[in-house]
Symmetry: C2
Subunit: 420 residues, 2 copies
């Protein structure tokens, strides 16, 4: 039956339900949202066998369709993974409610009492790929912050997503929330994505979760505002004043702890005046990282490959790093300004004045002094979770969790004031 | 020569200059930005005769082209108006610098000291119509908040805008700011607007200032994020518990103080249980406001016209108001949810519980209790100025001044922390 409805009509109908649910959610108390999400976590646990059976169907179809081993691994659920999905929902339930927080307040000379209060954004669309855990993670964060959400997962995970959504929904409804608080787009028709991106006014915000091609498509097509994560071309600059042991530890962690995360270092910048440059490069190479250097960097390590122009803008997400020797802080700032993607950049330095200038002048979402770029994460930042790391400049920047899923309104309490 | 360059190339070139200037501006101290804007205010005053001569050219051409009297009035400068433009620039100079403000800070369990610090957005495009004062107002707000700005005014004001821009620029450069901090698109080719709207990544934010058709075009075409003002379909709800004198004063002010502003009331909602409904309606009618009521409202005033379905969604910006009788707070909330544009809505009530529910449940940028909707204004809200009132839900909502022209970055100061 669904196939007889146009994607535009389908999305309009989901969005209308979501708008209505969002009005109820905006009025729902902290306690009730918290309780409903705990119900949802319990319902997920109770539905373990159903969800795993659905996941087995997706996996079997994926195998038959020749999905890569990496894709199949992202798709796969097992009892431990599903338990961690449920635990994450319960953890989001216990986060502080951002809704109703007073950002600031003032009494105007005429006696009008003004305040700015956080409120939900409204209706949020999440477009994601193969990981079925996003169904629960994203729904929990949206509902906790009082938003209705429309989920559009990858077709390869449709059975898993349906089963997770059904369990979530059962829990949320048992907890007193409207059924349309969390809706899953019921079709795998790709045109539904286009309809979501075009639903300006009906959907307030789209958050894409997935690889670069998905995010780029969303950004290129969307008429709805997008909170997106693009590249993480991240730098670590080792200044002349750096402590050698710290420089080695941070550089190795920033690149190699997990090479596939967006917070991983991609380019190592070394101050020409740093006396232990060769030791830092050797430490990184010793971990199995392939290095591609400029002419001066190549002299630091026998056999280092030459970097091409593309390497300075590459997001490898792999055990590869570009290495450049730069002329002090100014050289590093110039390189970062030319090549950083505005995600996360770090300096290793003992000289506080130099570090503070780096913190001030580097225009990235996250700028770190004497710490690994791999801290770029909502959990590590104390946000309790994250819906993503925003690389745009508006609304929210860097790790985004509950606060980033809210907006505000101005409230004015008067005693009959007129402008006259 | 300019006409031989494509609009896309022209805008790319302006945007590249602006990006470079924005990096300098982001590092410019509070004191220097303040001083440079005072220089600019002085330069505007010094250039009075040049600017008025340029304005005379625009006015003469406008007359010849048959511009309406209202358009010509918006275009017209005189010594008093120009003095107020210069005074506004000086007033913006004296506002507190938002850049560098610490939004919040925390020390993580691992000792990493995290803070969120306000930074400029970067490169802002302003697209506006006939009022030449916007050239100075918008430039001052952008520069004060550390942003580079590209101004694209209406072709009917091009000579005035060029003269104002030249004076501003002379002052800002004398104050040590880069010449590309404020650039005026030098052509009246409408394709330049399209090129600005398409300059995703080169321009960080577009702010349209003008009538509904300009704003709608910008919103429909833009690939760059837009901070826009759309409709102000604003309501005043007179609850059964309202004080009669206050209700009359606020309703009359909300509608009639200035009928052409976006904060003007367009629809009056009266509680069926309010015993003095006829007196409020009579007071509004006595000011010369034309009323269009539903059947029940029509009985409150002999000869009141009947409202059509369109009246409930109309932004008259004129001495006209729609009037509906509603069933208590719930009736008012339902009407507002169905018809408000999310700009400014008010309740007049002595019953605090009722008023607080209205404040909580109405989903508009500004919600007022016992005060006129005409307070919807950055100056009245204590922001010192405003670049506009945003009716979207993301980034900034309601009156937008310096803070709304900033974003933030996360700074982390560590002692060698790794995620391990």
């Amino acid at each position: 039956m669904l196939d007889t409805v146009s994607p535009t009509t389908l999305i309009a109908s989901l969005a209308a339900n979501a708008r209505s649910a969002s009005r109820d959610l905006a009025r729902t108390s902290d306690m009730q949202k918290r309780a409903a999400l705990h119900h949802a976590a319990k319902a997920l646990r109770k539905a373990t066998s159903t969800i795993l059976a659905a996941n087995a169907v997706d996996l079997e179809r994926g195998l038959a369709n020749g999905l890569s081993a990496a894709m199949l691994d992202r798709l796969r659920l097992d009892p431990a993974r599903l338990e961690s999905v449920a635990a994450a929902v319960a953890a989001v339930a216990d986060l502080d409610d951002p809704v109703g927080q007073v950002i600031d307040r003032a009494t105007r000379p005429n006696g009008l009492e003004l305040s700015r209060v956080r409120v939900p954004i409204g209706v949020i669309g999440i477009i994601y790929e193969s990981r079925p855990n996003v169904t629960a993670d994203a729904a929990a964060l949206c509902v906790r912050s009082g938003n209705a959400v429309i989920l559009r997962g990858g077709s390869e995970a449709i059975e898993s997503n349906r089963a997770i959504h059904a369990a979530l929904n059962e829990g949320l409804v048992a907890g007193g929330l409207p059924a349309a608080a969390v809706q899953l787009v019921p079709t795998t028709d790709r045109a539904a994505v286009g309809a979501m991106l075009a639903a300006d006014g009906a959907i307030d915000l789209i958050i894409p979760r997935g690889g670069r091609s998905l995010v780029a498509r969303v950004q290129a097509e969307a008429r709805v505002p997008v909170l997106a994560h693009l590249d993480g071309v991240n730098h670590v600059f080792v200044h002349a004043s750096a402590n050698l042991a710290m420089a080695k530890a941070v550089v190795v962690d920033a690149k190699m702890r997990r090479t596939g995360v967006c917070g991983a270092m991609e380019t190592l910048l070394i101050d020409r005046a740093f006396p232990h440059a060769a030791e830092v490069v050797a430490a990184l190479a010793a971990t199995g990282c392939a290095l591609r250097g400029d002419a001066e960097a190549q002299r630091l390590l026998p056999g280092m490959a030459a970097a091409s122009a593309e390497d300075w803008d590459a997001e490898y997400l792999d055990a590869i790093a570009a290495v450049a020797v730069v002329d002090g802080l100014d050289g590093a700032l110039a390189h970062v300004a030319a090549h950083a993607s505005g995600h996360t950049d770090a300096i290793i330095a003992d000289d506080e004045a130099v570090a503070e200038r780096f913190l001030r002048e580097v225009d990235s979402a996250i700028v770190l002094w004497n710490a690994s770029t791999q801290f770029a994460d909502g959990g590590e930042f104390g946000l309790g979770a994250e819906i993503g790391i925003a690389t745009g400049r508006l609304h929210a920047r860097g790790p985004v969790a509950l606060e980033g899923l809210t907006t505000y309104k101005w409230l004015g309490r008067g005693t009959g004031q007129v402008r006259g």
